[in-house]
Subunit: 666 residues, 2 copies
């Protein structure tokens, strides 16, 4: 099919070169080429042709079965690729990211948890002997594992989980037991049907005493028959809002015995006689959490960029509602309200990806510091990763929904791609730490920082606003807006601290005081996060701009400006409270908003082209590169199993007798 | 199963009587009893027992087939009920609402569009002869119809639709034709597989001239065989984010001939010789639109109340994370941040239902006025219905998502009920008028009102703020907050008008000027709407409070206070701009927020009990009346077809060969 004429014109008329943008977005020309090679290798081998009915028509069971087919095929290709030596995989972590970023595996893959959690847990918590025993097999996928922490009754509060592991010194074994329904493991990815091993988190009991949660390797299914082992009750938890083929599972253990060596003992240990040896420092778990969050943030930004790509291309193709009567129907992207829906999402994608890169850089630097025994910046990084995860996943989901709704009814179709993107991204709002819980963790750190602003770079701005009465001078430049956001954050942090302190003085216990002030604590962490996102993105983009063409530089500046102005408009109340912002300034912001939208208009399609998602990754009838929107929607509908017969059986069985039987009026 | 002990305690400790609340919410004691009788009759007859696998596990095709089974059964019972004479159905509209409100049919029902659009169109646009011919058959469900307006290429802009109906005076027939792919009808509910008739909206051509869109009755399928008639291409459009068994369809017509009498001619007419006779006034279509919107608003409020019920009960049962270390894990509803998620949604449900009742009252009054030939208030009502539909559906969806996320991972399960509620409610954000389009329609009316504030009661507040410089005195009482919101609305309306006028003076055409100012126009309509919601809800609730017990009165006042304070906190920027709000006032708002949350805490469960949703309507493992959350989640999972065999076939086919074949490291 030829490319839609409006899209051709958009691409011809853009000032920015989408190839240059793509190189920027994908970390350089070389990485971009490699990515494209990879996508071609994995996604364009013709294997998908066997799946004539689109996934969205399948039953829960059929979808799982197809996904095992699809993913074993892709992983086999990955093995072959590795064996060929074409691509050097520096380490396991990189290997994971390679798979995730190339759209080869995603949150729907039944083995994602195996890769992201099971194998990494061995890396982080296994002794060298344990790594020897299991890591190679696991990395080879000779065994498939999962990470079983969350229970039916406990998610957030890990210390409350109820599965027990009781050491029996006579047999040198642990007895794993699920004491009640609430203690059933629930939610581990791949546990339902795919995994035959699990790292099980349980309360360790030895010598009659509980030593808190520890990790245990438990075989769930026979390696040959795949049947659950004695004492193991395992199954899948049923359909969800998304990620259905992930086959999250439940697990009950009835006095299942495992050898002592199956407790992961890099940190804490149980000796043969049952003596418990405490872990020295538990900082490394923090490290893994941050690593997982970096991936979550990147994925959220990528998913938002996908949604923005679909909605932007659709808005270039779709024509509707003349602006002046008797004029031709314009591309809907010419309606300013449509620009106001789309372009902030494009900007957010870029800002979020940039900020998540910043977090990754801080993380990499920290890993080096940790190697030299310097843990100073760990708490700061952890606090940052908490609030960034909370805010960026939430904002990405909100942006994805804006994009979906911007496509009207067609955005509601499964073939638009939006429901999938939304389902996956909103899951990330919950897993690995719920929004408010994470912000409260950041707030806890900020309550320390407010007493000691020298703690770290990320809270240094507190020094610029030493008291609540320090009102920032409003300055409408982007750096000025950033400073204002820091003023807002500093003030909200101080307000929250004052609230907590007042309640402590009134005689509340610490927990009660924090609970009573928690709305303000959350607001403080939120403001801190937004200031960081803007500052880190601006610093990083300013660096980038130095080495790119003026056209790309302008676009990046426009995106930053749009993000900043939009953020300011949404925070007017805060800015009035803590800066000298005036009514005149508010009006200026509105003018700037309108101006930057109109500057971005001619570049919008070129920018989303520069996100460089292949059609196979977008999986969207609305967002394909060629813009044949209506043809693709129609094509998808024609594949419906319900459309393969002129009259559905339910007509004869139910409908006709009903229609004929009516004698009394409705 | 016994009722969860925490829920028992909540119910015992509440100050408000949930039975009294239920009578308030359901329009009085008598209506409540009737509703319960109806729910019992329709939903507890044991018919559902044949469906052993929950709906969410089914394929797209299976779900449709089950829904036809289920819904023909329910409609047959409705016939029997009518025949028994037990319940007097005052008119067809009431009959529709009876079915919708009793949860007997919902948006997922394949015949909803038949009821809500096909039959009502005959009522609104058919001549007496046409009503004679079709209405009884339709109301009897002897024929099932749909309303085919939207096309693949046109939704919002009805004048742009491309299907043609060309009159042939020789045969006295219309030729209906789909000239291109974009002109395919797309989205009509029930059209895919269920309906055998449709009202088709098409461009009327007669005597070589186009007379714009008119409505035509077209038979799609043979009444006996249900096979598509010659020239008719019909099918279903495939899976969506929700409402899948609605079987929305596509329709192409290839020179399909229908008799002249099949054009609905209550308004415009085509005479036998092809002469076109213009409709006198087209106000009545407005009326139907308002009627449909009243139902949409009510449904949105009900859906939000459902979500709030589920999340509130779950939050009373779920225990997690001690507030002070070493304390018992509290009900998560004792975390203030959780209250801040839930209670505003409860308040919003009540406010929205109350406001939608106000709209309905205005509508009823207007119908009487129209009968006396008085159309004065029609434009105002239409403008109100536009913005209310836009804002209330959006806010309801946002609230539903807050409730889902407040239930953590378990909220993501299909068996939580949230995905269904969300899918249905977000559809209402788009159908019957997209958010921004509707707000721009309201804005158009407001731009007239600002020149003539005597237009109607809903814009009378403009007179209190005659110029932009009239700043309202902040007064923190609820009536004071309402006045402030009116000040905000008045100012934003004036600002938008100024922007448009400035652009007109600068030489822009009207459409261009409106487009360039559209962000401000939308903001003005949004503010107008929020002021109306608050004012109408407050007036109505104050009336209610006079006739209820002091305990219920207090709760209703608390809900109104919470809604108002929450709304004020979210609009701080606006309030700073257009009222005398100070930093002190902002701090007071925070204190009031915390106080009202804590006052509502003991009543939360009793209030949602008072929404009186039977378990069969909530369809939620998390929200059932008895609070056996974990048991029900587990029960649902055990029903998964994937859990009926110990090892899935995909293990032998794909997984085992893959796991065995691994020789090169991942």
């Amino acid at each position: 099919m030829p490319v839609n004429a409006d899209l051709v014109a958009e691409r011809r008329g853009a000032h920015v070169n989408s190839e240059e943008f793509a190189a920027f977005w994908n970390g350089g020309k070389k990485d971009l080429e490699e990515k494209r090679w990879r996508e071609n290798y994995f996604l364009r081998d013709g294997y998908e042709e066997k799946f004539t009915v689109p996934d969205s028509y399948l039953s829960h069971k059929e979808l799982y079965e197809r996904m095992v087919d699809r993913m074993t095929h892709r992983f086999q290709k990955f093995r072959e690729l590795k064996a060929s030596g074409r691509y050097e995989m520096p380490d396991f972590y990189e290997s994971c990211r390679y798979m995730v970023e190339s759209e080869v595996v995603d949150a729907h893959c039944p083995f994602t948890t195996h890769l992201s959690m099971f194998v990494t847990t061995f890396l982080g918590q296994g002794t060298p002997e344990q790594q020897n025993k299991w890591l190679e097999e696991a990395a080879n996928c000779n065994i498939l594992g999962t990470y079983a922490q969350t229970e039916l009754g406990h998610g957030t509060f890990v210390r409350g989980i109820q599965t027990t592991a009781t050491y029996d010194p006579r047999t040198k074994e642990f007895l794993l037991d699920t004491p009640c329904l609430e203690a059933f493991k629930f939610w581990p990815g791949g546990m339902g049907l795919t995994a035959n091993y699990a790292v099980v988190i349980a309360q360790l009991y030895t010598k009659g005493k509980c030593h808190g949660v520890q990790s245990f390797v438990v075989q769930l299914r026979d390696e040959n028959t795949h049947k659950p082992l004695p004492g193991v009750t395992v199954g899948e938890i049923g359909p969800k809002l998304g990620m259905n083929s992930t086959n999250q599972g439940f697990l009950g253990l009835k006095n299942v015995r495992i050898p002592r060596e199956n407790m992961l003992m890099k940190n804490a240990q149980v000796l043969e006689d049952g003596t418990f040896v405490q872990a020295p420092v538990s900082v490394l778990t923090y490290g893994t959490m941050v690593y997982v969050r970096v991936i979550i943030l990147e994925t959220a930004a990528i998913n938002l960029a996908k949604a923005a790509t679909i909605a932007t291309r659709y808005s270039a193709v779709r024509r509707q509602s003349p602006i002046d009567p008797n004029e031709k129907e314009p591309q809907i992207m010419d309606h300013v309200t449509q620009q106001y829906k789309l372009f902030p999402q494009i900007a957010k994608s870029v800002i979020f990806k940039t900020s998540s890169k910043s977090l990754n850089n801080i993380y990499r630097k920290l890993l080096q510091e940790i190697e030299t025994g310097n843990y100073d910046n760990l708490a700061d990084l952890h606090a940052l990763s908490c609030c960034l995860k909370a805010i960026m996943t939430k904002e990405s989901v909100a942006g994805i929904e804006v994009c979906r709704l911007a496509c009207g009814g067609h955005g509601y179709l499964q073939c638009s791609g939006f429901p999938q993107i939304y389902g996956t991204t909103t899951a990330a709002e919950t897993y690995e730490g719920e929004h408010v819980i994470l912000l409260l963790q950041t707030a806890r750190y900020l309550m320390k920082a407010v007493k000691n602003p020298n703690l770290s770079a990320s809270v240094a701005y507190l020094k610029n606003f030493p008291t609540l009465s320090t009102v920032a001078r409003w300055d409408s430049s982007v750096p000025g807006i950033i400073e204002s956001f820091e003023a807002v954050a500093a003030s909200k942090i101080r307000l929250a601290a004052d609230s907590v302190n007042q309640r402590l003085r009134d005689g509340m216990k610490a927990g009660q005081a924090n609970n009573a002030s928690s709305i303000e604590l959350v607001a403080a962490a939120d403001a801190h996060c937004r200031a960081f996102i803007l500052r880190s993105a601006q610093e990083s983009l300013e660096q980038t701009i130095k080495s790119v063409s003026p056209a790309l530089g302008n676009v990046l500046r426009d995106l930053l400006e749009l993000y900043a102005v939009d953020a300011a408009q949404r925070a007017l109340g805060d800015l009035f409270r803590f800066t000298t912002l005036s009514e005149y300034d508010v009006k200026q912001l509105q003018k700037r908003l309108e101006a930057v939208l109109s500057r971005l208009r001619p570049n919008a399609v070129a920018i989303v082209d520069g996100f460089d998602f292949p059609d196979e990754a977008l999986k969207s009838a609305l967002g394909a590169y060629d813009g044949n929107v209506y043809e693709r929607i129609f094509e998808d509908a024609k594949k419906s199993p319900l459309n393969q017969e002129p009259v559905n059986s339910s007509f004869h069985k139910y409908l006709k007798p009903f229609m004929r039987g009516a004698q009394s009026k409705l």
